[in-house]
């Protein structure tokens, strides 16, 4: 019962963070700032939702359920490692492409000689 409550809370917080990420992706002014919203909102909300689902899986503590929990945690670690990497690779690609950067004092060129 306690586990259920904890997992409901985790999933709800995860969805709230996902709302933040989605709104950020829509609202932020340029590619780089959208990347912040996408990369971070994505990772954290995914982590919390998967943790909640994994804990919910444990409400019957059998060996098979523990293994499923382990697999879900494995996916979590997998995405936690890969997500910053793909964020980095994409933002670097964008930077070298020369996408303009939005700043307070008007636009600044990203990477154009």
């Amino acid at each position: 019962m306690i586990i259920d409550t904890i997992s409901i809370c985790l999933i709800c917080i995860g969805i709230v963070f996902f709302i933040g990420g989605a709104v950020g992706i829509l609202r932020f002014p340029d590619f780089y700032t959208r990347m912040h919203a996408a990369g971070k909102g994505d990772t954290c909300s995914m982590f919390l939702i998967l943790l909640g689902l994994g804990l919910y899986q444990l409400h019957e503590p059998t060996l098979a359920n523990f293994l499923v929990f382990g697999k879900i945690m494995f996916i979590t670690i997998f995405i936690m490692v890969t997500s910053p990497t793909s964020t980095h690779a994409l933002i670097k690609a964008g930077f070298e492409e020369g996408i303009k950067m939005w700043t307070r004092n008007g636009e600044k060129k990203g990477n154009v000689k």
Partner: protein, 101 residues
């Protein structure tokens, strides 16, 4: 609890729709790729939720892992491809930053 998980899945699905807007309207190609990447990660989560509803989680976890993996490879490949297309940009980001100052 079953219902709650189903509602959570619907909520995630509904939140994917605004990101779809970025895929359609995103001013640059990389914007679109980023949006696709976000949706891909969420699809992995959604697959586990579907597994919970059908009570076959141990099966759907494999799908989710594969999906996350292909999503990662896809975004790395896209980044790599966009980097190579223009030969005039053979310098690195660091050098460009220096030349501007």
């Amino acid at each position: 609890m079953e219902n709650f998980i189903a509602y959570a899945g619907v909520a995630i699905l509904a939140l994917m729709l605004p990101i779809m807007y970025r895929i359609i309207a995103g001013p640059t190609a990389i914007d679109r790729i980023v949006a696709v990447n976000v949706i891909g990660t969420k699809t992995a989560v959604l697959l586990i939720i579907i597994g919970m509803i059908f009570e076959r989680v141990e099966m759907f976890v494999d799908f989710a892992l594969t999906y996350a993996l292909l999503n990662f490879i896809g975004s790395i490949a896209a980044a790599r491809f966009l980097n190579r297309v223009n030969p005039t940009k053979s310098f690195t980001a660091m050098e460009a930053e220096e030349s501007k100052e």
